[in-house]
């Protein structure tokens, strides 16, 4: 079998991360305290493929592009990076997607800045592009189109763009434009160097296809876009669309048939599925969970990609929706917790007013600290384990803002969670601002890093009991335990170095 259009990415993306999505984030760091191969083994093991080198699970974004191209009649397939050599002579167009091509996104840029070491995701992507199959395919005239949420990073790596012969960078939702570009590429027509997909070319719900192969860890999109308008986020620039339940269930079924062991409901704010503005409505949320859980049965896992803290608090306080969902639907002997990413971003209501005034709605932004604390309590009581982000170094941030953040993190100590500090990366409407780097750190930032590190270390072993309860995970668990031990040993020394640095 040959393919005209090959869709691919590097190993840090083309992996199911041992079935644990959160382990994928380990690829955003540089290999510390162990060889890179071992680091890759933890975060990005090779994925099962068929005889043609097509992965059983592939990143969801690539699956959408594959589906749209096949529906349009193209001979296209996703191919694992280790199997590209099979198609060197036949592939005419290579499409590549990534979340963080060059490690400029959060949190990669932060680990890079703090340690001075190149993160693994960047190393892995550069290896892919320098690999013999990619080089040979280009020599034979293949055209390369890159896209995905990190497309913007190419505008900072123009030398690589020329070196690897990247023809086009696509920024934005790819369903419509990719069909157009691939058609042009196959006809040998000139391609634009850069395309931004404007609102006039964003696909409607009916134009977003059902995936044709399984997605990594069963991720299924339930809505696209976000109504909250946070200035640092690019998702909020996209129009809001809800996927019909039938479409969601079809994708769950595709995943189950391929043997995927669970579902991740993907949205920037799962509880806003079919919501009334920013107020969750119980009926669509319950129906969604009821139907999805019916499909996956009692043994497969369920996770949410993201949820907003304000929606979570509102849902529980007004409808007891969280406790109902967890106790009546989600939790059982096999599903002992539900994982989700949440955004705290700052503990300062005045900074929140400037950069994310919609994040607290329907509550006033002045109550941001109470919203965060209440929602963490609700999650703790209902066995929802959040991985929360805090962003340091926003353009208008003051020392008082950072102190407020420290105070908030301290209030969250009783609640089971991981809190990950991130350095500000210019994205969304703040895209033209400057990166926050190690040399911009103030003493308050170092204190904030320390408080978050202590919080996450405090809860990490407890969370691992939930997260990796199966004996199958013993080897990975052992390596992770070693890693936590190593970090504990090193971090105090490193914080001392940072403290000395900021005093100067």
């Amino acid at each position: 079998m040959t393919y005209d259009v090959v869709i691919t990415t590097d190993r840090t993306m083309m992996s199911n991360h041992h079935g644990k999505e959160f382990l994928g984030f380990v690829a955003t760091g540089p290999p510390i305290g162990m060889p890179e191969n071992l680091w890759m083994m933890i975060c990005a093991p090779k994925i099962r493929v068929d005889d043609s080198g097509r992965p059983v699970e592939a990143p969801y974004g690539l699956r959408k592009i594959e589906a749209v191209l096949r529906d349009a009649g193209f001979n296209a397939a996703i191919i694992d990076p280790d199997h590209l050599y099979k198609y060197v002579d036949s592939m005419k167009v290579i499409l590549i997607g990534h979340h963080d091509y060059f490690a400029y996104g959060p949190p990669s840029s932060e680990w890079w800045s703090l340690t001075g070491l190149e993160p693994v995701n960047r190393r892995s992507f550069i290896r892919l592009m320098n690999s013999e199959p990619m080089r040979k395919a280009k020599e034979k005239g293949a055209r390369i189109i890159v896209g995905g949420p990190a497309a913007w990073q190419w505008l900072y790596e123009l030398e690589f763009m020329d070196k690897w012969g990247v023809d086009t960078v696509v920024d934005g939702e790819g369903e419509k434009v990719t069909v157009e570009l691939v058609e042009k590429a196959l006809r040998g027509e000139p391609l634009p160097k850069y395309v931004y997909v404007g609102v006039d070319n964003v696909p409607g719900v009916n134009e977003i296809p059902v995936i044709k192969g399984a997605s990594v860890n069963g991720l299924v999109e339930i809505m696209r876009g976000c109504p909250r308008g946070c200035k640092f986020c690019s998702v909020t620039l996209r129009p809001l669309r809800f996927m019909p339940l039938e479409k969601i269930l079809s994708e769950v079924e595709v995943n189950i048939k391929s043997g995927v062991k669970g579902v991740i409901l993907h949205s920037e704010d799962v509880l806003l599925y079919q919501a009334d503005g920013v107020k969750p409505r119980p009926d669509p949320i319950i129906r969604l969970h009821e139907e999805v859980l019916k499909k996956i049965g009692e043994r497969r896992h369920l996770a949410w990609a993201h949820v907003s803290l304000a929606a979570l608090k509102y849902a529980e306080e007004n409808y007891k929706l969280i406790s109902r969902l967890m106790n009546e639907y989600v939790l059982n002997d096999y599903r002992r917790f539900l994982g989700v990413e949440v955004g705290i971003e700052t503990g300062s209501p005045s900074l929140a007013r400037k950069i994310m005034v919609g994040k607290s709605t329907p509550y006033p932004v002045e109550e941001w600290q109470e919203i965060v604390v209440d929602s963490f309590r609700i999650m703790h009581e209902n066995k929802i384990i959040p991985a929360a982000t805090v962003i340091l170094g926003f353009p208008e941030e003051t020392s008082e803002d950072v102190v407020k953040t420290i105070e908030l993190i301290e209030k969250l100590k009783p609640y089971r969670s991981i809190i990950v500090p991130m350095f500000f990366v210019p994205m969304g409407v703040l895209k033209k601002n400057k990166w926050f780097m190690r040399e911009h750190l103030k003493p308050e930032h170092v204190e904030a890093l320390k408080v978050m590190y202590e919080h996450s270390i405090y809860w990490s072993e407890d969370i691992m009991k939930f997260y990796m309860s199966s004996p199958l995970y013993l080897p990975v668990k052992a390596v992770l335990k070693y890693f936590i031990w190593y970090v504990k040993r090193k971090v105090n020394k490193y914080i001392g170095v940072l403290e000395e640095m900021v005093k100067k």
């Binding site: 529906d71 349009a72 157009e180 058609e183 395309v195």
Partner: protein
């Protein structure tokens, strides 16, 4: 192979190409970029296609367009690069869509055919 392309969009619309085109002759400079900002704001609603015509095929020119590109969150924007010998082809292909030709160096005016001189903006 691509026979199903049009039937696919029976339930939607295919990609809408930009309705307006700007041609930049020479490496973009500060004035060109500022003019592009203005054109995008006033004409961007139906998408904008920009051709940067210059001596080399390097992608380096995108660096001077980066802030312009990043300031856009709304409109469809296509940026092409071409060499001077391709100009005639571009003029023919884009025709009435061309709304402006931006020239940063007066020596490059010679590349603008007389019929398009009214679109010329020397910067």
């Amino acid at each position: 192979m691509i026979k199903a392309y049009h039937s696919m969009f029976a339930y939607g619309e295919k990609y809408r190409e930009p309705l307006f085109t700007v041609i930049v002759l020479g490496e973009p400079n500060k004035d060109t970029v500022s003019k592009l900002h203005y054109i995008l704001r006033t004409r961007g609603l139906n998408g904008l296609r920009v051709y940067v015509v210059k001596d080399s095929s390097s992608s380096r020119f995108l660096e001077s367009l980066r802030d312009f590109i990043f300031s856009n969150h709304t409109y469809t924007l296509e940026v092409f690069t071409a060499e001077y010998e391709q100009l005639r082809e571009i003029y023919e292909k884009e025709g009435d869509r061309i709304v402006s030709i931006l020239v940063s160096d007066s020596n490059l005016v010679q590349y603008v055919p007389s019929i398009l001189r009214n679109k010329l903006e020397a910067l």
